[in-house]
Symmetry: C2
Subunit: 389 residues, 2 copies
């Protein structure tokens, strides 16, 4: 999917953009790529430097009936248009969403807002398993308050289709729907790279160094297909999100063209909106921290989004994880109705700076009654966490 | 002004709280304080450790007529009640505000919202002189759009009072008002400390070390009367704001009681709301940076508060200052209708960590379409500033 018109690349930038030319193999010795055009014509192209920017593809569960019309995925602009077309082309009163990640939750809101009855289903018994239990419960409550049903721990066996009406059949449950959205995550498109012997990283993403170079010095990779260094663990990770993809795109262009740009890595900052809630995270949760070898302490606190006397305040939930050996801040999560999306950036920067919880607790964060309590919720969490370190 | 009831201190915490006992002198040799109660009775009290938490007092310009009834200041809760009482006790249709700082602007909004015609006046020709010109112009425009008039560069000569109606007389202008609010800043209440020979800091605030100890090891000071270290310059500064005052209060209590708490200092983070705008700053502006000996580069950018396709987006203005010698981030300012108050905390933490602009430009900040562009406005500013360093 090309957001800019093909002509712009060809005429204004002098780039010979070839759409409809799927590459099927890389010959690293010959420094060439090969494939067959959509019209069936074989093609090959030589390179000095090759950039693989193949993105990621939605995971389709191995579920009989997943090929039925009305079972949709959402990754590309074309997928979005297909869903819109489907909704406009018939009476769609209900939707089942398989999966409960960012995309599933954002689509849950979008479909419920369109007036559909929405049910969400997945095999894992925990809702938002990466989020601290108390915070995940707040999100689940918000979704249920909008009459969306959440079915966790449901093993699906098949999708049935009788006359355009769909049924998601689970072991102990059958969910009826006019439309099924599959949003169970994505996987990196790394098959061509792997077939060419290029090293892979976590989740079979393409392993790159901090200059986006793969194990082959003439081949680069950037975007959702490539891995990154996690600044907190120092280890490779695969977190396919927009900012890193965009940043890597700029950096790789510089590096391929002879400038030298090194990226420092990611801390896994993410935010999404679901109905009236903002849900954000940065760094590691306690389980991830333990897996990376940290000994951890954790707090979960509740505070207010504005000064106590200010009208319109709501509850903000913050959880924070620290390293009991070094006192380092390892991660922060936040859920609330306002003031969450950008507040998460303060601990995100602290993670980049490898700050201790004590150092972070001393930072001079903004305060005015309409925007928060005197002590920002992140500072209150840090002060509480300090007592456990 | 005691926010908690006196009984709570006396009965629940065992603190012999003496209100109505103004201290007039400190005898450091005898380790005692002396004064006269509001009932005219002399008193004295010995101390092992003394904490001076005398706060700050509004500056009253040396203006004939400033003593007229209807000329008000706002610092304490009692001041606020006095203003309310004045507004409720008569027909007040118009107000003149002398000064254009945080309090002046917040009161401008409050009085305009109550239906008053509001004019603001001050001698300095620049509106918000600490704010980058382009950003200050956005704030001025917002205020004027609410029919508030702004008179900068006006030297006031007196306040006249004829039958409860006030006139603020300037050299080339006379402003009529039913009420005048004087909001020209505050000064630290350090006279007693100075008289006792305790060292003073910037703006005659009481000089303290990072443990809130004054030049006398038995005397501490905290709150708006005391100074602090500015983390960016390493020099002393006096920025009387709530978070530092509160934090210093907690730290000094620990230190007086034998724990050892050192504060790292402030970066001057502040935010205020005026009508629909959020105005925030952290660190140094270009002039302050130059005064502290830095050679600087600066950018001012405009970007959007949400992703380009997302409805409801508005303009965010960001200015950023960096050190051309070391590449260090020195300060950031921001004005916008949403998403400013907490966004400022990302550069604030970066200042504490002494990050370079390049390091900050690589941070992994949150992104989702309802909350911002893929590149947070702070990152866009940092990317632009990098080109100048």
């Amino acid at each position: 999917m090309i957001v800019r018109k093909v002509d712009v690349f060809r005429e204004k930038q002098g780039i010979n953009l070839l759409t409809g030319h799927p590459v099927t193999s890389i010959d690293r010795a010959a420094k060439s790529v090969k494939g067959t055009t959509l019209e069936g014509k074989p093609f090959a192209a030589l390179y000095d430097k090759l950039l693989i920017a193949t993105g990621a593809t939605p995971i389709l569960p191995d579920l009989p009936g997943i090929e039925h019309p009305g079972v949709m995925v959402l990754k590309t602009l074309a997928d979005g248009r297909r869903i819109k077309q489907y909704l406009n082309g018939r009476t769609v009163r209900s939707a089942v969403i398989i999966g409960m990640g960012y995309i599933a939750l954002e689509m849950c809101e979008a479909l419920q807002t369109l007036g559909l009855e929405v049910a969400m289903v997945k095999p894992n018994p925990r809702f938002l398993p990466w989020l601290k239990e108390e915070l995940a419960a707040v999100v689940a409550e918000e979704i249920r308050a909008k009459s969306v049903t959440i079915h966790t721990g449901c093993r699906m066996t098949r999708i049935d289709n009788s006359g355009g009406h769909l049924q998601v059949v689970c072991e102990d449950l059958t969910l009826d729907a006019d439309m099924v959205l599959v949003a169970t995550g994505v996987l990196p498109n790394s098959e061509i790279a792997a077939a060419a012997g290029i090293e892979l990283g976590p989740n079979n993403s393409i392993a790159v160094d901090n200059r986006l170079m793969t194990s082959d010095p003439h081949v680069y990779a950037a975007g959702d297909c490539a891995d990154a260094v996690h600044v907190v663990t120092g280890q490779k990770t695969w977190i396919p999100l927009a900012l890193r993809a965009n940043r890597a795109g700029w950096a790789v262009a510089d590096n391929v063209c002879g400038r030298d740009i090194a990226l420092s890595g990611v801390v896994g900052t993410a935010v999404f909106k679901v109905f009236d809630l903002q849900v954000a995270r940065t760094g590691l949760n306690r389980k991830e921290a333990a897996a990376a070898g940290f000994e951890t302490a954790e707090v979960a606190i509740k505070t207010r989004s504005r000064a106590h006397a200010h009208p319109g305040a709501s509850t903000i939930h913050v959880s924070m994880v620290g390293d009991t050996n070094t006192g380092r801040l390892l991660g922060t999560q936040m859920v609330g109705h306002e003031g969450v999306a950008h507040r998460i950036n303060a601990p995100a920067v602290a993670l980049h700076a490898q700050m201790t919880v004590e150092q972070f607790s001393q930072t001079d964060l903004s305060y005015a009654p309409p925007f928060g309590p005197t002590w920002d919720p992140c500072l209150t969490a840090a002060n509480q966490l300090l007592k456990k370190l």
